[in-house]
């Protein structure tokens, strides 16, 4: 399923001029407030028409101004979680949740009402109307409404913004399952690198209406710091791995990855399952000699491949271990103290619990 977007649209003085082609299952739209993320999603949903351009999802053309094609919104089968919940005020929460089902062609539904309600924790709200719901409750109902509409494309505009971490930790795995088990492509707008890194495989960085960068996540993520617009300490590396040994809830699991064997706290799922680990640059220490008696699970041998200029007091050091790059953020001072140079053999010390294959959210 590819998502091809090549559109331009003028909104007042703001110009959106966006072009990318994502082959990912989850495409993240990333960028500062006012960059045009919601505007882009509106174009995909059919809530606005591009002035010129073309949008196609999985080969189906949704808009093509040159061919005068415009599939109306109700035929696009998008499940859109709006930035503002936009619940139907005259319907109960249950009716809100089931609204989309009415119009979905398939009568047998892949996603189950009770499951979604339980996951979102809105069971006790079903009989109420949206009037008195709290901010987070509204947002959850909105997520449920979109998921239950049996969509062919999911558009999530900051769906988790006002949710607490515990709640996020219940919704994220669901979205991951959706990504892994169904063929529904997802466009995900988020400010949280953690969310993005965990869910997305394609990243579009928006800035002032343009794609400042677009590409597969693993290529872009290490460069995120340079692209600006978000907290620098979120920079990191993504490594795809396979479960080699599952240590159970309380134990240690082992993953096979290009980096070699990686140890992870807790269960990693069944052996053979592909997982993704993100290693934040700020969670990596660099040592010139292998440390002993340290509570770090993973100490990977490598060589310094690049020493970035960095911002202010810190620098990004790229350590190559078995041909895979790992970013480490250390202070300028430490870099000097350890006398780091390109080519110098070092150890990347990764705190064990910082590796998360599918556990709670990273952010």
């Amino acid at each position: 399923m590819t998502i091809e977007v090549d559109v331009s649209k003028r909104l007042g003085k703001f110009e959106l001029d966006l072009s990318f082609a994502s082959s990912g299952k989850v495409t993240a739209l990333f960028g500062p407030s006012g960059a045009g993320k919601t505007s882009a999603v509106n174009l995909i949903a059919g809530l606005a028409r591009p002035d010129t351009g073309r949008i196609a999802v999985g080969g189906t053309v949704l808009v093509d101004t040159s061919k005068r094609i415009f599939v109306p919104r109700h035929r696009r089968r998008v499940g859109y979680v709006f930035q503002d919940a936009r619940l139907f005020p005259h319907l109960t929460v249950r009716q809100n949740l089931l609204y989309g089902r009415w119009f979905s062609r398939q009568r047998s539904h892949s996603v189950e009402f009770d499951d979604i309600v339980a996951m979102l924790g809105v069971g006790h709200l079903l009989a109420r109307r949206p009037g008195g719901l709290s901010g987070g409750e509204r947002q959850r109902v909105a997520i449920g409404r979109a998921l239950l509409s049996n969509p062919a494309l999911l558009l999530l505009d900051e769906p988790l913004a006002s949710l607490d971490d515990a709640r996020k930790a219940e919704i994220m795995p669901y979205l991951e399952r959706l990504r892994d088990e169904t063929r529904v492509p997802i466009v995900h707008v988020s400010h949280s690198v953690g969310e993005v890194a965990r869910l997305a495989d394609y990243l579009v960085v928006l800035s002032a209406g343009r794609a400042a960068a677009a590409g597969p996540l693993d290529e872009l993520l290490p460069r995120l710091g340079a692209l600006g617009g978000f907290e620098r300490h979120e920079t990191g590396s993504v490594v795809d791995a396979v479960v080699e040994h599952d240590g159970g809830e309380d134990g240690l699991s082992r993953l096979a990855s290009p980096l070699g064997s990686i140890r992870v706290a807790g269960s990693a799922g069944r052996v053979g399952r592909p997982v993704r680990v993100r290693i934040r640059a700020r969670d990596v220490l660099v040592a010139t000699q292998r440390p002993d008696g340290l509570s770090a699970l993973n100490i990977l041998a490598g060589v310094v491949a690049e020493i970035g200029n960095g911002h202010g007091p810190s620098i990004d050091v790229r350590v190559e271990c078995n041909g895979v790059s790992i970013a480490a953020r250390i202070t300028r001072h430490s870099g000097a103290a350890l006398d780091l140079k390109v080519g110098k053999p070092v150890f990347a010390v990764v705190k064990g619990v910082a590796l998360e294959p599918g556990g709670p959210s990273l952010s």
């Binding site: 005259h90 609204y99 109307r129």
Partner: protein
């Protein structure tokens, strides 16, 4: 309170007035909603014209409206003759004609109330319904219509109340035939035209006021319920 005793003919007028006002309100409702929607949302050639046409009964002296109705919907009028011939639908000098006159007189009020409510709806809610698969008609039925209930109720009560008081157009169009077209206002009018009729006029006026106020209270109660539903927790 002898003077409050209604005569048989007056009872007839009461019943007829309620019937006329009720059907005027009910018949004009679908068209009223449709036109309110057009005016609130449509962008089309002739919108100003349509809007003007809807307001016409408000602007014209009722006598003129009644006369125009007589000319067009009368047995000799172009529409009247057509309807009578093809559908057996006769307005002239029938209670249906009184209902038509009342419907038309109340129409601008009804349309305006519904239109105001439709214009107040947050269209982004409708957009949301669209993304969930509802086409224009379904969006209208499941979102726009329920959300404009306050305006619809207001439009209905305005139409009903207007019909209870409408007299000029009705008597000009369908005359004042007891049992057929003599509504309460016509009967009241007749009383005012003769010496000693004041008490009769007062009696019928009170009856008319009581009926309308009952309808008004009912409408307020319904509107409150609808409003509570819309903003309910």
């Amino acid at each position: 309170m002898d003077w409050m005793q209604l005569s048989g003919e007056e009872w007839q007028a009461v019943r007829l007035s309620i019937k006329v006002a009720f059907w005027a309100m009910v018949w004009s409702l679908p068209l009223g909603i449709a036109i309110a929607l057009l005016l609130a949302r449509g962008q089309f050639w002739g919108k100003a014209l349509l809007n003007g046409l809807v307001h016409l009964p408000l602007v014209l002296p009722p006598v003129v409206t009644g006369y125009l109705l007589l000319l067009t919907f009368g047995t000799r009028g172009p529409i009247g003759a057509f309807l009578a011939e093809h559908f057996g639908l006769v307005f002239a000098f029938r209670w249906t004609g009184a209902a038509l006159a009342c419907a038309i007189m109340g129409f601008p009020l009804m349309v305006r109330a519904i239109r105001l409510s439709i214009e107040a709806i947050d269209r982004r809610i409708e957009d949301a319904a669209g993304t969930l698969g509802a086409n224009a008609a379904w969006v209208f039925l499941t979102v726009t219509l329920p959300l404009s209930v306050p305006g619809i109720i207001a439009g209905m009560i305005l139409s009903f109340a207007k019909a209870m008081g409408e007299f000029g157009a009705t008597i000009t169009f369908v005359s004042n035939i007891p049992g057929e077209t003599q509504t309460l206002p016509s009967a009241i009018y007749t009383f005012t035209q003769v010496p000693g009729g004041d008490l009769g006029a007062l009696r019928l006026t009170l009856v008319s006021v009581v009926i309308s106020m009952t309808a008004l209270l009912l409408s307020e109660w319904m509107a409150q319920r609808a409003n509570r539903r819309l903003h309910a927790p």
